[in-house]
Each structure stands twice: as structure tokens, then as C-alpha cells.
Symmetry: C2
Subunit: 211 residues, 2 copies
Amino acid sequence: MAKEIKKVSDIVIRRLPKYHRYLSDLLDRNVDRISSQELSGLTGFTASQIRQDLNNFGGFGQQGYGYNVQALHTEIAKILGIDKTYRAVVVGAGRLGSVISTYSGFKASGFEILAMFDKNPEKVGKVIDGLKVYSLDDMADFIKKNKVEVGIITVPKDGSQKIADDFVAAGIKGIWNFAPVDLVVPEDVVLESVRLNDSLLTLSYYLTEKK
Amino acid sequence: MAKEIKKVSDIVIRRLPKYHRYLSDLLDRNVDRISSQELSGLTGFTASQIRQDLNNFGGFGQQGYGYNVQALHTEIAKILGIDKTYRAVVVGAGRLGSVISTYSGFKASGFEILAMFDKNPEKVGKVIDGLKVYSLDDMADFIKKNKVEVGIITVPKDGSQKIADDFVAAGIKGIWNFAPVDLVVPEDVVLESVRLNDSLLTLSYYLTEKK
DNA sequence: TAGATTGTTAATCGATTAACAATC
DNA sequence: TAGATTGTTAATCGATTAACAATC
């Protein structure tokens, strides 16, 4: 019981997508069993770490055999909630909004994008990448009416906190943020930020260090 | 001496962009000094951690005073190599390539994009977002002739390792990768990957967990 | 000088690795 | 059954936090 209560650390969670990705590859190659040792060779994590990671969620393996690829893939998909569907909207009908809207991995991960929103009146009413662009004024209503759970922010940093506030007020459950800002949201709202600029500066650091 | 030799851990490096960002904000607001305590309030890192982090690179503060914002900002910029200029090319003249090409933070971080490359003959020869699109066949020559140091991969996963290999063969020093693949590159080539899909799955996990 | 806050050492915490009994 | 490999406990390592002497 006590075991179930202990929250799995974020660092473990962020390794799960990698497991899932390699398991998908193995499935494609019709491999049906894999040991933690072999998975270590693929992922670069140690076999010990892999077993520790997986055992946070249950005993998916079998002594003397390893892990069944199909079963483990399904389990991890379930843990990651890939089997669930989430309705999402994108704010910012710019280039980044386009990338997100047309991103095929989205549907594969169980996300469905319903609409885009933009403050630019020239874009409002148009259809971009198969999605209708609405005015920001209509966003709250749309979110409530369509039970949208996820909001995606692709606007520049200055407008982003306001959008996040609007999302929260409208009842959104999670935000995928691309603006280079540390958004403030209530504890019960999930915030996941992609920090492109931080990644670029990290690249810059290592390039400079090696010089 | 021995101190200079110890490599700063990656986890520390990845906090530097956040420091830099908040210091930029403080500069904009004409704040001229800040204590580790105050910086803790902004960044969410502990004051102790901030002092530890900064002392990896030198004693930038002053007892009884704190840190001079301007000076610290400059120091961190230098550590991150923001003052250096790197020449880059983008492979993949698609939507993601467009995002990168028009990304203003790029120039601000010292990166200069010289050209785009694409395998699609319909795109080759065109100018997209102010950048000429060349054939992949001409890439190696272009990189050598223009001393390009950074290659940016925005193609789908299947072509990505080949591009990385071509980059490496042409003498590129660092790769910013957006393909959902763990690219293999020699030790002396810097690889920084943006894993959009991993981020999305992490969001999915926490959404599902909270349900 | 007195007060403030750093730089740095020591203590703690958490994550990774090692080891091995359990068991398929 | 014997061999293989997990699940799990214990040991190690590294990162974070606490504490405080140094000093501006």
C-alpha cells in the first residue's frame, strides 16, 4: 500500500518516452522479448536503472526471460496515457502553431487539436493547416463548450502569461508552453514547457567549451 | 589548478540559460544588484544552489553586497558563448525549418543561419524566409566553403542519421537536432536534441496521473 | 564599525549502481 | 533441472541544502 503512495520522481517519468520509443522500434522489428541488458544497449541507461525504473510501476518482467516487448510497450503506453484522448487548442496561428497543428505525433500520442486562436484579425476566420482560426475573444467559450483539456501556447513571450491565465480561467487542465517564460499556473494545472532557447544556449555552451 | 580541471556537470549548465534570462529581465528593469536570496525568489532555485552554481565558474559576487546584475549577466553570457558567433545551416525547408529560420532568439544568441537545404527539387532554388534553399547534394561543399560550424536537423526521423553523418563528414562542430531519434555522432561533435514528442508524452503522463 | 551576504566546507538527501536471492 | 534474468535490498555516488567563517 505504502508503495503505491510514493510518487514516482520526475526524472524517471522523463525517461519513459525513450523506453516507449525503443519498444515501438522493437515491435516494428518483430522482436518479442528483451532483457534489461539489451534495453541498456539501446537506450544507454544501465540495466539496473531500467529495472528500477520499470519496477516503480509494477513487475512487468519475468525472471530468466526478460520483458515481453508487446506487453511492456502496452504498459508504458498506458502509464504515459497514450491510450487516453485529450482535446487541445493552439494559441498563435504563426509558424510554430503550424508545426504543432500538422505534427503527426500528436494524434499518435492521443491529442486532438480542435482549433487555433489568434489575435490578428487578418488570420481570424481563415483555415490554416486544416484548422479554423478563431478570435481570442471566443476562446473561453470554445474551451468550455468543447471540453478542451489542453492549451498550447505558441505566442511570443509577452502575451503568454495572459493566455495561460485565460486557459486556467476557462478550465483547462494542462498547458504545453513554447514561450520562453516561466508561466505561473495553479498547482492542479499541468504545465510542460519546451525551452527552445535554453536548448540553443546549451548547444552554444558546449560548442564554446570545446573551442 | 585542480579546480579548473573539474568539469561542470550538465545539470548545472542547463540552469545557466535561466539565470541569463532573469538577469536580462533585471537589466531591462534597471536593477543593478541582486542577492542569491532574491535570485532564488525569481528562479525557484535555492540561494545555496545558486551560489554553488555560480562558484563553479568563479567568484562573481561580493560579500555583504550580492551580485552586480550587469557584471553577472555579462559573465554568464560569456560562459554560454553568447558573445561568440556561429555559422549554421538548416536541413529541412519545412514548417519547422521555417520556425528556426525566422527565430529571432537565434541571432541574439550569436547564431547566424546561412542557408537551408532540402531534398525536394520543388523547393530547391527558392527563397524561404529570406534564406536560399539548396539541394542536399551541395551541402558538403557549402559547409566547407562557408566554414559552417552548426547544422540544424528538422527533417523526419528516417533521414536524420544520414544528415548527421553528412554534417560530421563535412566538418560540422555541433548539431541541433529536432528529429525524434538518438543520433550517433563522434565524441568531439556536440549534439543537442530537442525532443518535442518526449515533452508531449510527459505532459500526457501528468494529465493522466491527475485524472 | 556593524550588517549583510558571499564563498566554501560539511551534512543531507536522492538517484544510480552493484549485488544477489527469488524464481521463471 | 540448470541457466538466465528479474525484483529488490544495500552500497555508492553525486547533487542539493545547511551552516558559518570570511570579508566587503
